[in-house]
């Protein structure tokens, strides 16, 4: 995972416009799927403008409290504000885009 995370951060040291944090607990199938889904969506929509930080709660359980993490995996959009949360393995791309405010909410209201 760590290697995956590092790969996901282009241009280290540069403050990215999109700051994303993915909470997982160990390398479960779901967390791996979530990460790859996230990576794919970001590359498609936010190429070069994002950072992804993966937090493994098995290693740092105290971090769950700060971002009010309950479900796993959880994606937290730290920037741009306001903070948004998307839970699940991110396989529903449309929902992820809505959650990240990359797509208007209309579709959800219709659903």
């Amino acid at each position: 995972m760590r290697s995956a995370m590092e790969r996901a951060v282009p241009g280290k040291g540069v403050r990215a416009k999109w700051e994303l944090r993915l909470y997982v607990a160990g390398q479960t199938a779901k967390s791996l799927l979530a990460f790859s889904n996230l990576k794919r969506i970001c590359d498609e929509h936010l190429a070069g403008e994002y950072t992804i930080e993966v937090v493994d709660l098995l290693k740092n359980p105290q971090l769950a409290k700060g971002d009010q993490i309950l479900a796993l995996p959880t994606l937290v959009r730290k920037l741009p504000e306001p903070v948004r949360k998307i839970i699940g393995d991110l396989s529903n791309t449309e929902r992820v885009l809505v959650g990240l405010d990359l797509q208007p909410r209309k579709s959800r209201a219709g659903a």
Partner: protein, 567 residues
């Protein structure tokens, strides 16, 4: 595992099931969170068990504030690592669900909190908020099942609170997952008075009290009142305690009430019920026994002032800490609440005597059908503690005097009736013992007089006109006195007459004696005279004979003469 919550451990015969989850459900504001927090805080303070609170409704700060209002210093416990609070915030609008997930993070958080302080107790407050925060209910249920399984595996004793649903114990059917112990909290408003109740719905592998128990939330938390003597096994005492009134002691075969008995003093307004109670208290304080006086009509200072008018100084007992007053308006709380308060104060103070003045005041604050049961509980509780209880009750003149508002007569061991006796334009007080279990007691109605020296019992006048009291009795008594005086005088007169008669007779006897003597004297004089005469005539005859002897035959004449002289 003991909760430390007053009364609850008695009902559940030892506390909540160890290593298992207990569901506490009830409507809004019934005290669920407090119950859970008390379980944690008392566990930490009294039993040294660290506890974790996973709150889904209130933030840690809010919880700490609310509990400190009840005298629990949450912040200090957190500093001492005896308590950890984790607030789980679920703002659904901020959460988008995109794909499959689980609640592993919740497990991680709980696990982390538990491990950080070595917790043995866990509280899940408002866990059903999860249903509002997460859309996938099927997943949520599976995760909850997994959660409670996980808690059990880790041997954590937990309390889970949940709102009561319509027709079900909880809104989302949590009782499906937590089935070892279910406690239902309830609060009802009867006649504008709120009464809280607690019931253990279910407790696997343990017998438990099955009733609804009233409880109160007071300045130091929850206090449940269990029925202490379900099986009427309390030990009775043969000791006697003075009533504080000599005449009344005498009516109870000279020694007063039994210790640990319950006494009911009933009477119409103004018959002196409080005065009797005050005498009893005064006597107990003199013996050095602490007394608890529940006054529902008068303030403590009013009772003290009023009793000085009958020569009782209760203030000195208050000052010495022997007498403790507890006054409250009966309508302030529900009956159950009053009883819980009495229960609590008795447990704190261990008095020898408890006075409830008047017990009827309590009855106004609750629904009648329940009152008898709750009173029964109170009486039983006091008996089990060997506390002598004196309760006063107001009867209405219109009712039969032997009927009290709730038929409590079967509950009490001794029953004193105070009665107004109206006659001759006066109201006077009469007292009699209606019943006294196990005591030879007087069957007489006595007049009951209250003066500045206290209470005094007088024999009533039972004459042809029936029962006489007050002035009528005095009048009758003075009549009796004058009649007695007359009789006395009559006797004296008779004695005088007799004396006089004796004197008269004596005088007569003396006069007759005198007559007799006179007669005797006269008679003897006559006799003497006659004898003189006789002698003289004989002499004369002798003279004649002598003169005749010159002529002869003197011998034969001399013999005849001797005979005649002897006659």
């Amino acid at each position: 595992m003991p909760t430390g919550i007053q009364g609850l451990d008695e009902i559940t015969l030892g506390g909540l099931p160890k290593g298992r989850a207990t569901l506490v459900c009830g409507g809004a504001g019934c005290g669920k969170t407090l119950f859970g927090m008390e379980f944690l805080i008392r566990g930490a303070r009294q039993f040294g068990d660290p506890g974790v609170c996973i709150s889904f409704e209130e933030t840690a700060e809010e919880l700490a504030d609310n509990q400190s209002a009840l005298g629990f210093d949450v912040a200090a416990l957190i500093r001492q690592k005896k308590l950890a609070i984790d607030y789980v915030d679920l703002e659904r609008s901020l959460i988008e669900e995109a794909g499959e997930y689980d609640l592993e993070a919740l497990f991680v958080r709980i696990g982390h909190a538990v491990d950080s302080i070595g917790a043995k107790r866990v509280l899940f407050d408002g866990v059903e908020s999860l249903f509002a925060g997460l859309a996938n209910e099927g997943l949520l249920r599976a995760e909850l099942r997994r959660l409670f399984r996980w808690l059990k595996d880790r041997q954590l004793t937990s309390v889970v609170t949940a709102e009561r649903g319509a027709g079900t114990l909880t809104r989302h059917g949590l009782e499906e997952y937590i089935s070892d112990c279910v406690i239902l909290l309830d609060h009802r408003v009867d006649e504008n008075v709120l009464t809280r109740r607690l019931r253990v719905v279910k407790y696997r592998g343990s017998t438990h009290g099955t009733n609804e128990y009233p409880f109160v939330i007071e300045s130091d938390g929850i206090s449940v009142m269990p029925v202490t003597s379900i099986d009427l096994k309390h030990v009775v005492s043969k000791d006697r305690v003075s009533t504080g009134i000599a005449g009344l002691d005498a009516m109870f075969s000279g020694k007063g009430y039994f210790r640990g008995s319950s006494i009911l003093v009933s009477g119409t307004a103004g018959t002196g019920k409080t005065t009797i109670a005050a005498h009893f208290v005064d006597a107990a304080c003199r013996r050095g026994e602490p007394c608890l006086y529940f006054s529902f009509e008068e303030s403590p200072s009013q009772v003290v002032r009023n009793m000085t008018s009958v020569g009782l100084d209760l203030q000195k007992w208050v000052d010495r800490g022997l007498l403790h007053f507890c006054s409250a308006r009966p309508t302030t709380f529900g009956l159950e609440m009053h009883l819980v308060r009495i229960h609590k104060m008795v447990s704190d103070m261990h008095p020898g005597i408890v006075v409830v003045d008047p017990v009827t005041a309590l009855l106004h604050s609750g629904a009648p059908p329940e009152t008898r049961n709750t009173l029964l509980r109170l009486v039983d509780f006091l008996k089990s503690k060997q506390i002598t209880a004196l309760m006063t009750t107001l009867t209405h003149a219109s009712n039969a005097p032997e009927e009290t508002a709730v038929n409590v007569s079967s509950l009490v061991d001794a029953w004193l009736m105070l009665r107004d006796i109206e006659s001759g334009g006066e109201r006077n007080r009469g007292i009699y013992i209606l019943k006294a279990r196990g005591l030879a007691h007087s069957n007489q109605i006595r007049e009951f007089r209250i003066s500045d020296k206290g209470v005094e019992l007088r024999e009533v006048y039972l004459g042809e006109g029936g029962l006489l009291t007050g002035s009528a009795r005095l009048l009758q008594e003075s009549k009796d006195a004058s009649a007695a005086l007359l009789a006395q005088q009559e006797i004296q007169r008779k004695q005088f007459l007799l004396q006089r008669k004796r004197k008269v007779l004596d005088a007569q006897i003396a006069a007759l004696q005198l007559d007799l003597e006179t007669e005797e004297l006269e008679s003897s004089q006559l006799i003497a005279e006659e004898e003189q005469k006789l002698r003289k005539s004989q002499q004369d005859r002798t003279e004649i004979a002598r003169s005749r002897r010159a002529r002869g035959n003197t011998e034969s004449d001399g013999g005849a003469r001797a005979n005649g002289g002897r006659k």
